[in-house]
């Protein structure tokens, strides 16, 4: 095996050093690393953060959906009878027993040129029990008063990372 040589000369040499051939010492070192399974995030098929069906009123307001999928309206906004609201859903896989952080961003929903902004709410962390975990995402939609009727859609980012 090729070796690399490092040299050291004593700083204070008052007399020439006398070589002593064969005087040497050897130690064994070790190198280590731990590789863990990658963390993966999957959006549950057909799941979505659904703010339901509502009227905006003239001054608007908000629709709040909890992580459990329960919705409430505020201001001039009124959820209509039969409206269906839901929290978004994700699954996580990775190294068993390891904890991870969850970060969700904000976004907008749009219908043509009309947009409405929303923020999200999710757990800050989770644990991969048996190598798996799941969590749900709620949010708050800022409803624009008098916004045109129609179906509004949009997206937002979710990130998970090992702690």
């Amino acid at each position: 095996m090729k070796k690399i040589a490092l040299f050291a000369i004593a700083a204070a040499i008052s007399t020439p050093a006398m070589a002593a051939p064969g005087d040497s010492a050897t130690a064994q070192g070790a190198a280590t690393a731990e590789v863990v399974a990658p963390i993966t995030l999957t959006h549950t098929p057909n799941a979505a953060l659904d703010f339901g069906t509502f009227t905006t009123g003239t001054t608007g307001g908000t629709v709040v959906v909890t992580q459990a999928g329960v919705a409430t309206d505020t201001g001039d906004v009124t959820l209509v009878s039969g409206s269906t609201e839901a929290a978004d859903a994700f699954t996580v896989a990775g190294d068993p027993g390891r904890s991870f952080s969850i970060t969700t961003g904000s976004g907008t929903v749009a219908n043509g040129s009309v947009t409405m902004a929303f923020t999200t709410s999710a757990p800050a962390s989770g644990t991969l029990t048996g190598g798996a975990a799941s969590f749900r995402v709620g949010g708050t939609l800022a409803v624009v008063g008098g916004a045109a009727a129609g179906t509004y859609t949009g997206s937002y980012n979710v990130t998970v990372a090992y702690n």
Partner: protein, 176 residues
């Protein structure tokens, strides 16, 4: 200075014509103090202080590298960057370190490997671009103590198998 010529076998010491020169009588003997010298040097010793530790990281999806420099600086390639914030085992990340004790009046050469392999079962990873440095810790009287720091670059394969990887290497110091 008196000049002496020893006649081999006769045991007679003849002097040149110096007034102060001693005259040896036949049959008499003469003694003179001789000189003897020996130099004892400190035996070179080397002791491991720390392993070369690459720490914990998640399997990357592309071939990647993680460098732990002899200074302790850690540099991951893009796919391993997020692993820098991952909780580490108690020993953390860092260079290998050795303590070298030797005679302060002597020079020495330390030999480190150019590369090594760490394994977990049948899965392997190469450590290359090995570098080292010597740091003088103490120099007092006939003893000097150095610390040898050794770093390297770990080459991680795409989808590298999870596991605890380890490998060994030798470090040798030799008096010049």
């Amino acid at each position: 200075m008196p000049h002496f010529r020893l006649l081999a076998g006769a045991g007679i010491l003849a002097c040149a014509a110096y007034p102060s020169c001693a005259h040896a009588e036949p049959g008499q003997s003469m003694q003179s103090a001789g000189s003897a010298a020996a130099e004892v040097v400190e035996q070179v010793q080397i002791q491991r202080l720390a392993n070369l530790r690459f720490g914990r990281f998640a399997t990357p999806s592309t071939p990647s590298t993680l460098r732990v420099a002899m200074t302790g600086a850690v540099t991951p390639s893009a796919d391993l960057a997020s692993s820098l914030s991952m909780a580490q085992p108690p020993e953390g990340r860092g260079p290998a370190q050795f303590r070298i004790e030797m005679d302060g009046n002597r020079g020495f050469t330390a030999y480190i490997p150019a590369s090594l392999t760490i394994s977990s079962g049948s899965a392997n990873m190469l450590v290359n671009a090995v570098e080292g440095r010597l740091v003088r810790i103490v120099s007092a009287g006939r003893q000097s103590i150095y610390r040898l720091d050794m770093g390297g670059t770990l080459r991680v394969g795409a989808n590298q198998a999870p596991g605890q990887y380890s490998g060994t290497f030798l470090v040798t110091v030799v008096y010049l």
